[in-house]
């Protein structure tokens, strides 16, 4: 965990006072809605279909139990008793009242969380691997650098009015769990031949109506130069990014229109001017940030404790353990993923009671720490393996032991037309129906890893382009239709999915997905070949035939 110091606390409190003043001026009519809109967006407040939506940042997906309890409190006190975890390590509340927002922010500020820059045309929450600091095989903890970037991007005086939103993601692992290739800037921590720590810098990734996989602008930049290099990229973007058309304003369009070589050259010229300036990080500064991260003191524990051996006889426990428990860097410990995708439930939602109960379990079993992943699931990052059986029972009691992590019912979905004013079609009911269709665990397990991502419109908040199966809601003659893509992925081998054919109406989506899955089961070379690999090997044609033969 990163511990706020006096400087961080002062800044966040000053932000709350500023926003309180802005809300007051809006309510008195001193600010027009147009003027206020930008200010509220910079504080994570959207106007949705029914009410204001409030988005809170969970920087690099790390939460303390106290922070999670406070989120539960906000859900209960200011909202309708639940929250929605998003694909960018944020949580959203959908029924907040404008006049109460400053109080909600002040409550959050007490535990060091905020909603700064969770929307608007500025740098958004810096996201990272939800297993940072605990996954085996990591270069180093990417959260140190995420925090360096969080501070650098917070209230940046030059880059708070960019052409469009701007998202960073960082990974320090060969297996990318942060989806860095679909971000405006993706950073991959690695070491060069001299064993120095630095980053591969990728730029111009993003989904939306013109999706792009990010391109490498620089294979290695030394850690001490990361801020000046990022500033060079942002400055080129702020000066030359398009502002004439909102759909062409992301940095991916600038990179595409200039070409990566020309863009890289512009950035290089800018960087040469500032690389030796005040942004160069010295060791003391990096160490200072590092020193404010605390780590658990792990006990020496066996990999296979007696408790685990005994519990192995319980098939339900085993089913959950095989699905939701992952290797940890410390012997005797595990990372436990908490599925927020119960059968028939909206993906990513948690009730205030679940949040409180999970905070208690984190205190008891995970050194008071909780993680949030971009798949809209949570994790307990430091669970002693001997505690797994007890933890499972406790999770099961609060409805958080669904053993479907990474399976076909572990669906990513945006809020869609049920909440969102931009949506063309519903997402949540599609997800709910699919979880019912694939509710049988043995079937889901037989299918294996399969990511379904659903977006209710072309803005792609549900990351449909990079779902193994992507579902995009469109409107056709006033009705909800859905385009289906297959073969997308968001990891280190990121790729955009390919459309399998004409859009299908709402009530046929689940049937089509079942057809695709059945086709895969018939076509896969071995039971180990994942859906996405079968699509890679055979292309979309056999799937297209199967789906459209009878339609």
């Amino acid at each position: 965990m990163y511990a706020y110091d006096e400087i961080d606390r002062t800044l966040i409190n000053e932000r709350v006072s500023e926003f309180r003043d802005q809300v007051k001026r809006r309510l008195s009519g001193e600010l027009t809605e147009d003027e206020f809109k930008m200010l509220r967006l910079q504080n994570g407040v959207y106007l949705q279909l029914h009410a204001y939506m409030f988005r809170i940042a969970i920087p690099y997906g790390t939460l303390s139990s106290a922070q999670l309890r406070r989120l539960a409190h906000v859900a209960r006190r200011y909202d309708r008793g639940y929250g929605h975890f998003t694909t960018r390590q944020n949580i959203q509340f959908n029924w907040i009242k404008l006049a109460e927002l400053p109080d909600a922010l002040a409550d959050l500020a007490e535990v060091g969380i905020h909603s700064m820059q969770t929307s608007g045309n500025n740098t958004r929450n810096v996201t990272s691997d939800q297993w940072a600091g605990v996954a085996p095989g990591e270069i180093e903890d990417p959260r140190i650098w995420s925090e360096v970037l969080r501070q650098y991007t917070t209230l940046h005086p030059e880059f708070s009015f960019l052409p469009r939103k701007f998202k960073f993601a960082i990974t320090a692992h060969a297996h990318d769990r942060a989806a860095i290739k679909i971000h405006d800037i993706g950073l991959r921590l690695h070491k060069n031949e001299q064993s120095e720590t630095g980053f591969e810098v990728l730029v111009g990734g993003g989904l939306g109506r013109t999706p792009f996989i990010a391109k490498t602008i620089r294979p290695f930049i030394h850690g001490r130069d990361i801020l000046s290099y990022v500033e060079a990229i942002m400055r080129v973007y702020n000066r030359y990014g398009r502002r004439d058309n909102i759909y062409k304003a992301r940095i991916k369009i600038l990179v595409h229109e200039l070409g990566i070589e020309k863009f890289a050259q512009e950035v290089e010229e800018e960087w040469q001017q500032i690389r030796d300036g005040a942004l160069r990080l010295d060791d003391d500064t990096i160490e200072d940030i590092r020193s404010r991260f605390s780590y658990p003191t792990y006990e020496k524990l066996p990999h296979m404790p007696e408790e685990l051996r005994k519990a192995a006889h319980d098939p339900l426990f085993e089913r959950w353990r095989r699905n939701a428990v992952f290797p940890h860097k410390a012997t005797g410990y595990s990372i436990v993923t908490i599925s927020l995708k119960p059968v028939g439930g909206p993906p990513g939602d948690a009730t205030a009671d679940q949040m409180d109960a999970l905070a208690d379990l984190a205190d008891k079993y995970s050194f008071g720490e909780i993680r949030v992943g971009h798949e809209q699931n949570l994790a307990l990052p430091h669970v002693a393996r001997r505690d797994l059986p007890e933890l499972w029972k406790a999770l099961d009691k609060i409805g958080l032991a669904t053993p479907n992590v990474n399976l076909v019912s572990d669906i990513i979905a945006c809020p869609g037309l049920d909440y969102c004013s931009l949506a063309n079609a519903r997402s949540i009911p599609i997800a709910q129906e699919l979880t019912r269709r694939f509710a049988n665990h043995d079937t889901a397990n037989l299918i294996g890893r399969l990511h379904i991502n659903i977006s209710g419109c072309i803005n792609a908040c549900g990351h449909h382009h990079v779902g193994h199966i992507g579902i995009l809601g469109v409107e056709k003659n006033g009705e909800e239709f859905y385009q289906i893509t297959i073969g997308g992925r968001a990891d280190e081998k990121a790729e955009l999915g390919v459309l399998i054919g004409p859009a299908v109406p709402y009530n046929e989506v689940a049937d089509v997905i079942e057809d695709i899955v059945e086709a895969y089961l018939a076509l896969r070379a071995t039971p180990d070949e994942l859906f996405v690999d079968t699509v890679k090997r055979l292309g979309v044609e056999p799937f297209r035939e199967r789906v459209y033969a009878t339609r």
Partner: protein, 171 residues
Amino acid sequence: MPLVKGGKIQTDEYVHVADDAELPEAGAVLVSATRFLADPERVLRRREKVGVIWPNNRDVEDLVPYVERLALVALVFPSFRDGRAYSQARLLRERYFFRGELRATGQVLRDQFVFMLRAGFDAFEVKKQADAEAYAQTVKRYSVFYQPTGDGRVAAPFRRLQLRHSESAGL
């Protein structure tokens, strides 16, 4: 629109001269970039204060030959959402050492003051009278800053190290 300079509302000493109007005999003038660049020497040789209104889609690099002789550069915010002038301001101040008055014009609202100050602006043509009057209290909203810019304020990383050092020195 009220002009805030030196922390106070002031009368603008500059006369804004239209492109087709004659330059006045005496007094400070503010001219468009088009007029200025058409014949910079003609404007500058008046030996009175000269200011240029610089649009936000034109590289400030074109101004570099004249920065020592210009008393004022007015950068433009056609909308408060358009942040190009923040980059222009920092470049003029930090890279090209422009020391004259750097004025923010256009849709300038109180909620941008702190960002503008940090980017190097020191004068503000404010859209609303109430915002101009609230200048002094608004700019005190923030006392800590995470990023170093050329405005001289101590950014958080350095302040932290100073604090650590004074702690370890027992001060």
